[in-house]
């Protein structure tokens, strides 16, 4: 069975999406992408469905492993407890299912303001632009952490 990777988030779906894109090598790992590269990502433009607890398939990496994003909200301890229970109950190999908190990878003031403008004031263009600026600021760190995560798994 192939490995499944889940980038989960509480607030910023975009940080999970970008982490998934880095994982899938759809975004560069050796340089910070231009704003336009981030803004042109289809899911970034349209937004990922935010049904809490529902994994959203992003793609398969070169090894055939599946990469998802999933909203766990702030109660992610309970979410992980539930997931582990279900996987164990099904007799699945837990080492093939990996979960990483994308909210801890990228979370800065630009992203917070952008998210606020996007979600609360519904000014999508400006909000997403600011989130993309915030992602660029944390991008190297994000790449290092995704790379570390892939090595460990």
């Amino acid at each position: 069975m192939n490995v499944k990777f889940f980038y989960f988030y509480a607030g910023f779906s975009q940080s999970a999406l970008i982490a998934a894109y880095i994982h899938l090598q759809k975004l560069p790992g050796n340089r910070v992408p231009a704003l336009q590269e981030i803004l042109s990502i289809q899911e970034f433009k349209q937004g990922i469905p935010r049904d809490i607890g529902v994994p959203h398939f992003i793609g398969e990496d070169y090894r055939g492993d599946s990469v998802y994003t999933v909203a766990f909200g702030t109660n992610y301890e309970l979410a992980l407890q539930t997931v582990n229970f279900i996987l164990e109950k099904q007799g699945l190999d837990l080492t093939k299912w990996h979960f990483i908190n994308a909210g801890e990878l990228a979370n800065n003031l630009w992203m917070k303001i952008g998210s606020l403008i996007n979600d609360i004031f519904k000014i999508s263009g400006l909000g997403k632009y600011l989130i993309a600026v915030g992602i660029r600021k944390n991008y190297q760190q994000l790449c290092e952490q995704v790379s570390q995560f892939k090595k460990e798994s």
Binding site: D51, G53, V54, N75, A79, Q81, I86, L87, K89
Partner: protein, 153 residues
């Protein structure tokens, strides 16, 4: 089918509903104080059990009856159970979730909180037991609706 009675902590309303469903408690009279000792897991579930389906028994039609504590994260926990069952290849459509929360019953809320969250069992258990007796007719109605639904399936 697999019938899952769920509530905030999975310690009072859902074990009582499961006991009514399985005939452990009579549904045509209010339970006595001693009847609560017969309810599996009544006032026993703790935080580490939240998000886990706890099997109570099989009803006369062969349906499996479970209880579940899901805190305030109803959508999160139910979606995770359904989606991760789906991802692991299991038949998630067999699960039927029944919300047993009795928020308008202050004795259940304060008693349950005292006993489970604070660990004041001597104070909390009598309060929550009395609260459950008050809520018993509502739980009986909920179980009847559930049984009707499963007969129709």
């Amino acid at each position: 089918m697999k019938i899952v009675y769920h509530c905030y902590g999975g310690a009072h309303a859902s074990p009582t509903a499961a006991a009514i469903h399985l005939g452990i408690l009579s549904n045509n009279r209010l339970p006595s104080w001693n009847d609560f000792k017969k309810i599996p897991y009544f006032d026993c579930i703790t935080n580490k059990d939240h998000g886990k389906l706890i099997f109570i028994g099989k009803d006369e039609r062969g349906n499996e009856v479970y209880i579940l504590g899901r805190r305030n994260s109803v959508q999160l926990v139910i979606h995770i159970i359904q989606e991760f069952l789906k991802l692991s290849g299991a038949d998630y459509s067999q699960y039927y979730f029944v919300d047993c929360v009795q928020l308008y019953n202050p004795l259940m809320v304060t008693g349950g909180f005292s006993s489970r969250a604070m660990g004041w069992v001597k104070l909390g258990r009598p309060l929550v037991t009395l609260g459950t007796i008050f809520s018993f007719p509502i739980l009986v109605a909920k179980v009847r609706e559930t049984i009707q639904y499963t007969i129709g399936k």
